[in-house]
């Protein structure tokens, strides 16, 4: 292993350890803090997935909110109608969303990336309507809220405490821990996947399809694979989101969610795993910060959009790339052209 690679592994390990400590020890928050932390974890997972397909494979998905909806509804339906324990629905949600991603990806990937963007955008906009369709009422409850435990949704209030490893914690805190535990596992999975041959193939597809084909990379297969994995991540994120609030309804997965995820992944820096943390924090906490500017509706969106444009124009490698450049010694920058 070259020195550079060794350094990268070390940095990643340290970042992982720091993230673990920060996530599990730092929060001495109230309920709202727990919920926000859990939501940020949900975004983190979805952004990991989106980054695999958009950042590493170069395929634009504007519809990851729709795959979150698939995962979320899988969990809601299994728990509410079939009495499955909520924890076990998480991998199932990932699997179902992954299959959905595969089914969308197969036709769309035969065409250029632009068409994939079109189709996934359409999917994001159409998803709430599909979930509300009368003919699917037996499955999706036709647009009505699906209550996980037959209780009204009170963002965690009134849910029984949970016992983890002999410790009793509140439901919201348990959800927070659960989300970040899953997130860390998925981060490691993504890291292992991306540093190995699949990751190399993904990047080859992104950088030059022609060169990738000539080197024997099966483009269609890798694109579909990346898309399915990425959709599975989104599905798991959606599942955790539904578990946290204990209900699912079509309005929880609007088209805006998909676009917000795109903002997050661009802020993070396409093709950077640890930048995803910054991206998740940005989309989770920006609406709170925007309230200080003006309470008017639309302020967060204005800032999201402006941030997206500014980053593309000024900092095309996102927060991660910007930091990386700032940390690289000046001499290296002077003598080598990126």
């Amino acid at each position: 292993m070259s020195r550079l690679a060794a350094a990268r592994v070390a940095v990643t390990a340290i970042a992982l350890a720091a993230a673990t400590v920060a996530v599990f020890l730092a929060p001495r928050w109230d309920k709202v803090g727990d919920i926000k932390g859990a939501q940020m974890g949900v975004y983190f997972i979805a952004l990991l997935g989106l980054n695999i397909v958009t950042g590493y494979t170069g395929q634009i998905s504007l519809g990851h909110g729709a795959f979150m909806a698939v995962g979320g509804y899988t969990t809601a339906i299994l728990v509410a109608d079939h009495g499955v324990r909520d924890l076990w629905t998480i991998p199932i949600a990932g699997l179902v969303a992954g299959i959905a991603g595969f089914l969308v990806g197969v036709p769309a990937l035969r065409l250029s990336g632009l068409y994939l963007a079109l189709v996934t955008f359409g999917l994001a906009v159409a998803m709430p309507d599909i979930l509300s369709w009368d003919k699917l009422e037996r499955v999706t409850h036709g647009g009505k809220e699906v209550q996980l435990f037959g209780k009204p949704a009170l963002t965690g209030k009134g849910f029984a405490d949970v016992s983890i490893l002999g410790q009793t914690v509140t439901f919201t805190r348990a959800v927070h821990y659960l989300t970040w535990a899953v997130a860390l596992v998925l981060l490691v999975v993504a890291w292992l996947l991306l540093r190995g041959p699949p990751g190399r193939a993904f990047r080859a597809v992104r950088d030059s399809e022609v060169a990738a084909t000539s080197s024997g990379v099966n483009i269609a297969a890798y694109k579909t694979f990346a898309f399915a994995i990425s959709a599975a991540y989104a599905g798991i994120a959606g599942s955790l989101l539904v578990i946290a609030v204990a209900f699912a309804d079509p309005q929880a997965f609007p088209a805006k969610l998909s676009l917000t995820l795109l903002v997050g992944v661009v802020v993070a820096g396409l093709g950077s795993l640890w930048g995803v943390l910054a991206g998740a924090a940005f989309i989770e906490f920006l609406p709170d910060a925007a309230v200080h500017v003006s309470k008017a509706q639309g302020v967060p969106d204005t800032v999201y959009g402006a941030a997206l444009i500014l980053i593309v124009l000024v900092l095309p490698t996102g927060v991660a790339g910007g930091l990386r450049r700032a940390l690289t010694p000046l001499t290296t920058r002077l003598y080598t052209r990126s």
Binding site: T54, G58, I60, L62, P107, A108, R110, L111, S112, G113, L114, Y115, A117, L118, V119, F121, G122, L123, V125, A126, D129, I130, S132, W133, D134, K135, V210, T213, A255, L259, L262, V263, V266, L270, S294, A296, Q297, G298, V299, P300, D301, T302, V303, Y304, G305, A306, A307, L308, I309, V312, L313, P316
Partner: protein
């Protein structure tokens, strides 16, 4: 049969709105090879500008014309300031940029004009009465919308096919390098394309507000999907295809919703998924659309 004819006519009217937005999308796609996802939000934004003008006492049609000019200038400015720096960059970058515009303009519409119910225009631009032709009641507004949109499409066609500037526009879309060599200012032609697209989008926005009141900051979101469907059906590169695609989508959606009262499939709610299905089917069966030319890529 009467019901059928009536639904076809009103489908043509809404279809002409989709056609206008699809045309805007096609103009930008032809010149830059990118779909402008912000097209619908640009239209909404300019419609709110028109509302503000009318609110300040400008008459509807003067405000209409003024809005087209403002939209044109806005489109040119957007291209110069925002899109120009990434011109010729990867598709991914430009798509993300237009998504940024989409989110930002949507946010601004909500911010500046808040989410209160407005009717625009206050007095309908077209008479509310109907013509009675063989038992078919045809609304004058439908005919008016159809007429104005098709008229503008015709003007656009003349501009593109029979003027020097149109020739330059087509040339810079086809081969920027060669166009530059013969002295065409390609950068400005692209900006001109954005300006034209923004102005056509503004028409779609103002007619959407007139055809389905009230004026709402999110009104163009579904229309954008129908326009995408129209543009894809038409092949993304063909202006004529976009118009025919828009009319097709408008009429089919209307007929589907009408005859659903016999089928009970709740298809009226499924308009967006149906449009998405149309996009998928066209892409799978005939990716070049019904009127486009197949793209050839050298590998």
């Amino acid at each position: 049969m009467v019901q059928f004819a009536q639904q076809v006519v009103s489908g043509l009217a809404s279809g002409s709105i989709y056609a206008a937005l699809a045309l805007a999308i096609v103009i930008i796609y032809r010149s830059t090879g990118v779909v402008n996802f912000a097209q619908g939000e640009m239209a909404t934004f300019t419609t709110f500008i028109a509302w503000t003008l009318v609110d300040h006492g400008v008459g509807y049609w003067p405000a209409f014309a003024l809005t087209l000019l403002i939209a044109f200038a806005g489109g040119v400015a957007l291209e110069r300031i925002v899109v120009r720096p990434v011109e010729g960059g990867p598709v991914l970058t430009i798509v993300i940029l237009t998504i940024g515009l989409f989110i930002m303009l949507g946010g601004l519409s909500n911010w500046i004009w808040k989410a209160e119910v407005r009717s625009f225009p206050p007095n309908r631009p077209f008479p509310t009465s109907t013509w009675d032709i063989g038992g078919v009641a045809i609304s004058k507004q439908d005919v008016g919308i159809l007429g104005v949109t098709l008229g503008l499409v015709l003007l656009l066609y003349l501009l593109f096919q029979h003027t020097k500037i149109g020739l330059a526009l087509r040339a810079s879309a086809l081969n920027p390098a060669a166009s530059r060599l013969v002295g065409i200012r390609v950068g400005w032609m692209l900006a001109l394309g954005w300006g034209l697209a923004a102005a056509i989008g503004a028409i779609a926005g103002m007619f959407t507000a007139a055809a389905s009141p009230p004026l709402d900051p999110n009104m163009m979101r579904p229309v954008l999907i129908y326009a995408f469907a129209a543009a894809v059906v038409g092949g993304l590169t063909s202006p004529v295809g976009a118009v025919l695609g828009g009319l097709t989508i408008g009429v089919s959606l209307n007929l589907i919703a009408t005859y659903d009262s016999h089928l009970h499939l709740d298809l009226d709610r499924m308009r967006l998924p149906i449009a998405l299905g149309a996009i998928l089917i066209v892409l799978l069966v005939r990716p070049a659309g019904l009127f486009g030319r197949a793209a050839v890529r050298r590998v």
